[in-house]
């Protein structure tokens, strides 16, 4: 997420694109895809923890959306509707694959060689990847209802209100769930071996930030 709680686009804008699509402009869907692909992938990956499966399911989510757009109630926010589909699909998949565990492998072909990664120092990229993997491992140890709120909050950057809308829960229920989820994650993170290294570096970074 990176902290910000912004919306991807004005809801009206999405609705206009949806309406264009429903009028027969198939290319309009590409705009929606380009706009939301990262967010959907992040949500699905955060819940599932496996890059390849997340890619598969994200694509299926968009196929579902493409098929179901005529049924979309245009009084609702498109993004919320899309996230709900993504979360439900990811949770179903995560529950289905509970028997086995995947290593969060990030070195799938085509994933690590994006321009943003190429521009950075290899050491930094490697370190980040390791950190990300350890965070994902811990996320996978969290109960699934905690995982989904953490993912929506941190990976997607949704507000509590938006999460409540997406998961069809009350705001107070989401607040409680998020609080508990953070606590569970924090305890697991604290107990993890990677934490020591990361926390030392982050604290140093924070000290630098505070000083500046």
């Amino acid at each position: 997420m990176s902290g910000e709680r912004e919306r991807v686009a004005a809801p009206d804008d999405d609705l206009l694109i949806v309406q264009r699509f429903l009028r027969g402009d198939v290319a309009a869907f590409d705009i929606l895809f380009a706009r939301y692909q990262d967010y959907v992938y992040h949500i699905v990956f955060g819940i599932i923890g496996n890059a390849e499966e997340a890619r598969d399911i994200s694509q299926e989510v968009f196929v579902t959306v493409y098929r179901s757009l005529p049924k979309f109630r245009q009084s609702a926010r498109f993004a919320t509707w899309l996230y709900r589909i993504a979360v439900n699909r990811a949770v179903d998949a995560a529950r289905g694959s509970r028997r086995w565990r995947f290593l969060p492998i990030m070195d799938v072909a085509g994933i690590g060689d994006r321009p943003a990664d190429r521009d950075e120092e290899p050491d930094l990229v490697f370190e980040r990847t390791e950190e990300r993997e350890s965070v994902q491992r811990i996320l996978m140890d969290c109960p699934i209802n905690h995982r989904e709120v953490l993912v929506l909050f941190y990976y997607r950057g949704l507000s509590v209100e938006e999460i409540a809308e997406t998961l069809s829960c009350s705001i107070s229920a989401i607040k409680v769930r998020l609080h508990r989820a953070r606590k569970v994650f924090r305890d697991l993170y604290e107990a993890s071996p990677e934490r020591k290294h990361a926390s030392e570096r982050d604290r140093a970074q924070r000290a630098v930030n505070d000083a500046s």
Partner: protein, 314 residues
């Protein structure tokens, strides 16, 4: 310990810490929290560890890459979905026609017919006609001998599999398989497998996975970080079949339906796998063994060599 450092107070601070991390506290509240944390070891620790966890989650999310081929895969799936829908539509129309024909046939067969028969007089004096069965009322289809010969196929999974044309090898290399199964239960043991098979050419380390219907699938390929051999839950060997005899490792694997073997590339093949769980068909491409990170899930396209070795049903 001062009252301020009581457990209840620190519980209240817990929520305050979360609000602090979400930047929802005023400057006064932040100063208050920091002052308290500097004097209270428990809250200081909680603040630090909550901050670490918060940062870790933020960083993880910020650096999460998205695969570049997301759109192309989506487009392919959509295309496939459209074809399937079209197929279902055509199938639906055809079924409708068939159903109508069946209804007409039933009406025809159940029309009032004039039969010849015997009149019996019952003890209470009523007459009862026992109709002779006309030829149009005879059950059609399966004879007794035929139904007996079909029974094993419906009761025996392996026989049924053979009848269905599944890839099935009656003479598996058992010793090798057992070695591979035991050697691929975890990532660490995969490395052992490589060591065990070190005499083979590079890239021939084998990983065995167990598909949902308990057929042993062997994929050859150097697989790093292969944590769990049961990686292919949705891969149903019941739908894996070979259209031509596939010669792999000197064995003929099977025949009939869904495999494609490009004639130009010797030894290259693709298994078409129906993913029943998610309702789409995907391919497992095989060739001679290359690095195949993607064969963690056998329902994706990857350079893996898949071979059904034996039916492990009891």
């Amino acid at each position: 310990m001062p009252a301020e450092y009581s457990s209840a107070c620190c519980d209240r601070r817990e929520l305050q810490i979360q609000n602090y991390l979400d930047a929802c506290l005023s400057a006064v509240e932040i100063a208050d929290l920091k002052a308290h944390a500097s004097a209270c070891p428990a809250c200081s620790h909680a603040l630090n560890s909550a901050g670490d966890a918060h940062l870790a989650l933020c960083n993880a999310a910020a650096s999460l890459p998205v695969p570049g081929d997301l759109y192309s895969g989506f487009a392919a799936k959509l295309q496939q979905d459209k074809k399937q829908s079209l197929g279902l539509y055509s199938f639906g129309r055809a079924s409708l026609g068939l159903a109508a024909a069946a209804c007409l046939a039933m009406l025809w067969f159940h029309r009032p017919v004039t039969t010849t028969g015997t009149i019996l007089q019952t003890s209470d004096g009523h007459n009862k006609q026992v109709a002779a069965i006309g030829p149009q009322m005879m059950p059609s289809g399966v004879s007794t001998e035929e139904s007996q010969s079909l029974a094993p196929h419906t009761n025996s999974k392996s026989k049924r599999s053979v009848a269905a044309g599944e890839a099935y090898t009656p003479t598996p290399t058992i010793r090798q398989v057992q070695l591979q199964v035991s050697a691929s239960r975890s990532e660490r043991q995969v490395h052992n497998a490589k060591q065990v098979l070190a005499g083979q050419p590079a890239g021939l380390a084998r990983i065995t996975s167990l598909s949902s219907n308990r057929k042993l699938m062997v994929s050859a390929g150097v697989v790093n970080r292969y944590q769990n051999p049961e990686v292919s839950p949705s891969l149903s060997a019941a739908t894996v079949a070979l259209s031509h005899p596939l010669v792999a490792n000197g064995k003929t694997m099977g025949k009939d339906t869904t495999i494609t073997m490009p004639p130009a590339a010797s030894g290259e093949f693709a298994l078409v796998v129906q993913d029943d769980v998610r309702g789409f068909t995907s391919e497992v491409r095989g060739c001679v063994v290359a690095d195949s990170r993607e064969d963690r899930r056998l329902n994706s396209s990857a350079d893996v060599h898949v071979e059904v070795l034996r039916d492990s049903d009891p």
